[in-house]
Symmetry: C2
Subunit: 418 residues, 2 copies
């Protein structure tokens, strides 16, 4: 399929380049010169209008292919990614108290996180580039989603993880048949080995931020939110932030729709980090450049001390008149229980951090109670049962006896319900 891609532009020096499936960062600026894919919106407009969506029977992220950089004919063979539910959260909002609250549940994607949107694109771009091996270094959702989609499409994946990677996540990767390289070293050593190997062997690179197509996959979450709300997105959209690629994608999606005249204004973006690792929040609060932070939080998917996509992420919040906020691990665990018990959605710590952020932002007056909000729940709680246990504690053992049960329920003040 023909795309409407015009050119790639370096976010640092502004230089423009011709489209290519293997493009990485700007040759002049090096690793910090992250490329942005630019579209010919005037021509795109002739195809992509409200009617296009009304008639579209593809209920997956690929209904947005004309807004993306993927040319592949293999889309029909992929696992089903996207068109995840957007729920109005009436019960949860009895506690948050904004005008209306929505949850975008990304935990029901094939590998159970939003990262499937990026990895699906990466796998198709690798195939366009005639690569048979695709690689990244990661311990988390990027890795599992890559291994998942590579397996489905018959590509080999090579994934580098540091020694400290939790065995549960490593297991998921191995079930997907990835070639797992468990590095006897820290994350930096792991990343460096992956970089050397990718260069030496010519593998396709799915490392975050370096590959400009990944953001184009992630932006589909914003396109869906807008369409699911009949192209009137909420005043605010909140998402947790690690390396900055996801919030950059969310921004790009809404920007596309604005350029196409399909939405009237950008939602304000709330970037949520954990207090244990909040370089974006620090930089925003002190109006100073991003500084490396410790990675000291239970929300491992956003524990990124040196974010790799800072420029796009900072622009996303600044240009949307948004805000940054940091929440504690205790806030995150409380939000996990709240989301589970009020809405029946089980999120991993990084997934529910944005909900904790919304509550704090409402409390601080950043988000007004007269405004509407969407909360992007980025990953399934089943990915990290260890930390979920911290949210709920251990169960109390009870004798198999009706009287014991009755007393237990009374003690907990629950007997009135029965």
């Amino acid at each position: 399929m023909k795309t409407f891609v015009k050119q790639y532009q370096c976010t640092l020096c502004g230089q423009v380049f011709s489209p290519s499936p293997t493009a990485e960062t700007c040759p002049s600026c090096g690793e910090k010169g992250i490329l942005d894919i630019e579209y010919d919106y005037e021509t795109m407009k002739k195809t992509v209008d409200r009617k296009y969506f009304q008639n579209n029977q593809d209920f997956s992220m690929w209904r947005y292919q004309p807004l993306m950089s993927v040319e592949s004919d293999d889309i029909g063979k992929m696992l089903h990614v996207g068109w995840t539910p957007l729920y109005q959260a009436v019960r949860l909002n009895q506690e948050i108290k904004v005008k209306a609250l929505y949850i975008k549940d990304e935990g029901v994607n094939p590998s159970a996180s939003l990262k499937d949107r990026a990895s699906a694109v990466a796998v198709l771009k690798a195939m366009e580039a005639k690569k048979t091996v695709i690689s990244c270094s990661s311990t988390g959702n990027a890795a599992s989603s890559l291994a998942c989609h590579a397996a489905r499409m018959g590509l080999k994946s090579v994934i580098f993880v540091p020694k400290r990677a939790p065995l549960g996540k490593v297991t998921q990767l191995m079930v997907y048949g990835t070639t797992l390289i468990s590095v006897d070293g820290d994350y930096r050593q792991t990343f460096n080995l992956s970089k050397q190997a990718i260069e030496a062997y010519g593998w396709y690179n799915r490392n975050a931020a370096i590959n400009p197509h990944l953001v184009e996959g992630k932006k589909t979450v914003a396109l869906e939110i807008a369409e699911q709300l009949d192209f009137s997105p909420t005043d605010w959209v909140a998402v947790s932030v690690g390396d900055g690629c996801t919030i950059a994608g969310v921004c790009k999606g809404f920007y596309d729709l604005l350029m196409l005249g399909l939405i009237k204004k950008m939602p304000r973006l709330l970037g949520v980090q954990s207090e244990g690792c909040d370089p974006f929040c620090q930089a925003w609060k002190t109006k100073s450049p991003l500084k490396e932070c410790e990675e000291n939080t239970i929300a491992d998917s956003i524990a990124v001390g040196i974010p790799r996509n800072p420029i796009k992420a900072q622009k996303a919040v600044a240009n949307s008149d948004g805000a940054w906020i940091a929440v504690s691990d205790a806030d995150i665990l409380a939000a996990m229980k709240q989301l589970g018990s009020r809405e029946g959605i089980f999120g991993e710590p990084a997934g529910v951090a944005a909900l904790a952020g919304i509550q704090k932002a409402v409390h601080e007056g950043i988000i007004k109670t007269t405004e509407t909000v969407t909360f992007i729940m980025t990953g399934n709680g089943l990915k990290d049962p260890e930390n979920a246990r911290k949210a709920v504690g251990a169960p109390v053992l009870l004798k198999p006896d009706l009287l014991a049960l009755e007393n237990y329920l009374k003690e907990r003040g629950e007997f009135k319900h029965v």
Copy 2:
């Protein structure tokens, strides 16, 4: 919404009863007198035809509401269940070698298993009956799906688990805010306490087999398989079997479509059990009544020594000219790796058991290579990382060094791929 329910009939004595949201088993036959819900197909036919489905924009299990026993107006408030992907498994079938192989991926439901279909119905029926508390005893997917959907709809759930319940599954329940009753006893003591409490307090009963509406929820998986294959389902449909309710539901779904003239013949059902707990297979092989079995398998979701829905399950296989087959835990672990690495789908042991069963059935000539097969993957592998670890083993640690990497890849014979 009006339904087409005609009456309830006892599967044991044949007595018929008027519809009721709180109906349980047959008063004459007791717990073994499981009820079957019967429909007025002649009247249903006037509404439910091919055109009804062509025009239906509800892509969830509720597109089949006219074929079900749910009257509730609250369906729109539920979490999104069903219309899960049906994938053609081209890569996996290079190993299985049947005419065509399809995978129905139930792991992407809200609580990550097929049981969401039954629990969603149970919660709506409880609301129809004006109950505010719903209860069951289970350690597995029935419990987590019930807690999930009850939370979303604002019902209280009380779930009884035996002491041995794995902490991971218990954690998920507690995040959903269930009132967890952890019983200091075995499963039988736990079930009995739940039964006493449900009777004493008048809670809504979601115990498997006792509630006749659960099968009506589960049958939607078969309705979807048929519709996704344009009403020409595969020659065989394989599903793993524990208490027998799921295979009974699969049978009922295809039966409905046959009665409506929407499909021409019933697919043959392959009931798959684990060799460590295979009462149905034993009874079938020896042509004798069902006998209690030990529960000695890693596939905990189908480890049911005394199945609670034997009659419907046995009829499902017999009437469809199907077969029973048992697979070993080793077969199950091999199928888990195979499914993950060939198709990018991570299934729990009970979820992949049916795939192991298909392979064995092909090997034994029960399924012919000229036939088409659907494999129902009932639950997500993230629910049970402990057992998945047994499938893949532990990773090998590698020095952060390119030469070490090169040697490692060569040793594994993988360097040819790079």
